[in-house]
Each structure stands twice: as structure tokens, then as C-alpha cells.
Symmetry: C2
Subunit: 202 residues, 2 copies
């Protein structure tokens, strides 16, 4: 039976790795590359894929995306270095920054505790958070993990570790979001309310 | 304000070129590449993109996908070379071949006449179809463009050109599909009915 040339089948497989992309969608993307994309656009695409994988670094302090050793936020001396907001993903940092309201620093966990997927605390940037707190300059840790079971489990876990530091205020971002909603999909007003309504985490 | 590193912004732009991919989805794909894809998978992806753009050829007779000068279907001497089915896209060939019912050849137009997008008959592989018919070996042309305004316009246009060849039977695939439906999304039974019910195109 007639089949597509192998290189198209291969490209369909690559696109199908992306989240939420099934066979039909992957096929549509592959044919778009073949028939509609200009040569320069494909070359750009290739360059950008390689560059993201090779050039993007993570801030050695907070784990946020960086082009240098420190991310622009950790480098910014005008920000309040005594407050650290703990988020699950790098994308959450941008969502929060768009508010232009929060002036402290961040700590990116790179996920949340998810027993069903075997993601345990050791797989997350939790140790490095505790190291930061140990240095003694941090007055408040805001737990801004998602309002999901995993996010809540992670917040609870970190809270337990931080009882050893009684001088550090530990707060949890307010439940302004519907439970089950990921932070990155929240609208700005909801995010703002959630930030304002943060409360002591006991 | 904090922004993503430039290489991520660039990759988001590349993904956003794909059909039906908005900013949020492109961002999701880019972060998946950054955080979840293995180095080898990204290298594969890059290789496949380049290969599709550089190695895939079109059959010099019918315009279908090919790895040689002729596609496997045009090379197949067991098929009926006196019948040509005219389709809009390469993907339509695969949909039809999956039926394992049609044993003639194809002609891929590479689109349909779409005035709103400035796609005129000159932009499609229509001249090469007429050249094929002129050679005198073709007894039937089956017009299997989509059941859309554009597909119907294209079928009508080709029909008019073929009145100059009174010995060639011109048929139109039957309307088994709901009007407005693209051929590639049709289920096999609908496709089969449409093929069986083809009628003289007057």
C-alpha cells in the first residue's frame, strides 16, 4: 500500500511528541512544514530548537530561566531580596511578573510532588530553597504552587520543612482560583486577588 | 519587566507559524521542548525538519509525494493508467489509498481555486493535468476535489477545460460527504460510498 515518504513519517512522529498533539494534528503540522513554510522559516525553526536546548540556562540561585549565571530578577538590586515566592514552573514567574505588583524574588521548584508519576520531593528544587532560607536573609516565603492536589501537597511539604525557621513568615497564595486550575491559565485579576489575599500558612 | 530568554521567544514564534497554533499553545510546546524532551529527541526533530524540506520530492507526472522522480503509484504497472483521480492535496491520496479500492492513478492539484486568498488556476497543477490528457491514454478523469465551494469551483473549472476532449469521461466523486467537509477527515465508509456513487459530470 502507498505510504508517505519516510522523512514525513518521521516528522509526524516528532510532532506527535508534543503535549496534546495526536496523529492527525502532527500530520497537519508536518504537511504545513512541507508545503507552506518557506525554506528560511524552517531553517529558523531548526536554529531555534537547537538554541533552546543548548543555550537556555537556569539561574543558579532560584532556578528561573537565565542567559547568565543569575536570572535578571535575582540580579535586580532594586527588588526586595527578603521575600521569596515559590512557584512550580518558570512560566509561573512570567504570569506573576505581568502583574507588575510583586517585587520580591522567586524560587522555581520545576514541578510539584506527584506520587502517581513518581515525582518525589527529591526531584524538585526544594533543597536549594532550604539552603537559601538557611542563609538568614529571607523574612517571608510565599507558597504560590498551583491550587491542585499536587500543588497543595507540595506547599504543605515545604511548610513542614520551614517550621525549623521560626523567624521566617510562611504564607500561601490565596485561593482566588477555582480548585484544579493551573496558575498559568489564570487571568490577571484572579492572580492579583490571590496575591493580596495571601494568609499565614499554618 | 522580566522576559523569557530570546531563544525561547524565538522558538515560540516558530511554533506559532503552525496552523491553528496560538501564542499559549506555542509557549506550551516550547517549554515542553526545553524541559521534557530528551536531547536525542530534539536532535531527531531537527533532522526530520531538515529532511522533509530537503529530501521530499514531488512526482514529475502527478505531483504526489515521491522519493524518486516518479511516485510509487505512477511506477506501479499493475494499476490502471487510463484513469486519473484529481485531488487537492497529497494527503487525499493516502485517504483514498487506505480504501484499497481504487486502482487508477492520481493528479494532485496542490490546492483549490480560492479567490478570497488569491489562489487562481495558474497556481495549481492544472496545466500538467491537461498535458497528461492530451497524450491520449486517459479514458476517465475522476474529479475528487473537496465538497466545498473551492473544491466545487475547481472541479467545474477543470470540467470546462476537458470538454475539448470528448473521448474522456469526466466524473465527479459523489456527494456522500456533508457539504463543507474536507476529504481527509472523511471516514472510510463515506469515502467508499462517494467513490461508488460517482456520476457523469455535466
Amino acid at each position: 500500500m502507498f505510504k508517505y515518504p519516510q522523512s514525513i513519517l518521521n516528522l509526524i512522529d516528532s510532532f506527535a511528541l508534543l503535549p496534546g498533539v495526536g496523529k492527525k494534528t502532527a500530520e497537519r503540522y508536518a504537511f504545513y512544514v512541507l508545503n507552506e513554510m518557506k525554506q528560511e522559516e524552517v531553517e529558523e525553526f531548526v536554529k531555534n530548537l537547537e538554541s533552546v536546548k543548548n543555550d537556555v540556562r537556569h539561574c543558579s540561585v532560584c532556578g528561573n530561566l537565565a542567559e547568565d549565571d543569575l536570572c535578571p530578577i535575582c540580579q535586580d538590586t532594586s527588588r526586595d531580596h527578603s521575600i521569596v515566592m515559590v512557584v512550580e514552573q518558570e512560566r509561573d514567574v512570567l504570569s506573576m511578573e505581568k502583574l507588575d505588583e510583586y517585587k520580591g524574588l522567586y524560587h522555581v521548584l520545576n514541578g510539584a510532588i506527584t506520587f502517581s508519576k513518581g515525582i518525589s520531593p527529591q526531584d524538585l528544587n526544594i533543597d536549594s530553597l532550604i539552603e537559601r532560607v538557611k542563609k538568614g536573609d529571607i523574612k517571608e516565603v510565599i507558597l504560590a504552587t498551583n491550587a491542585t492536589l499536587e500543588g497543595e501537597t507540595t506547599a504543605r511539604y515545604i511548610k513542614e520543612l520551614l517550621v525549623n525557621f521560626p523567624d521566617v513568615r510562611v504564607s500561601r497564595i490565596a485561593y482566588g482560583l477555582p480548585v484544579g486550575q493551573d496558575l498559568i491559565y489564570a487571568d490577571q485579576m484572579t492572580l492579583l486577588k490571590a496575591l493580596e489575599g495571601r494568609r499565614e500558612y499554618k
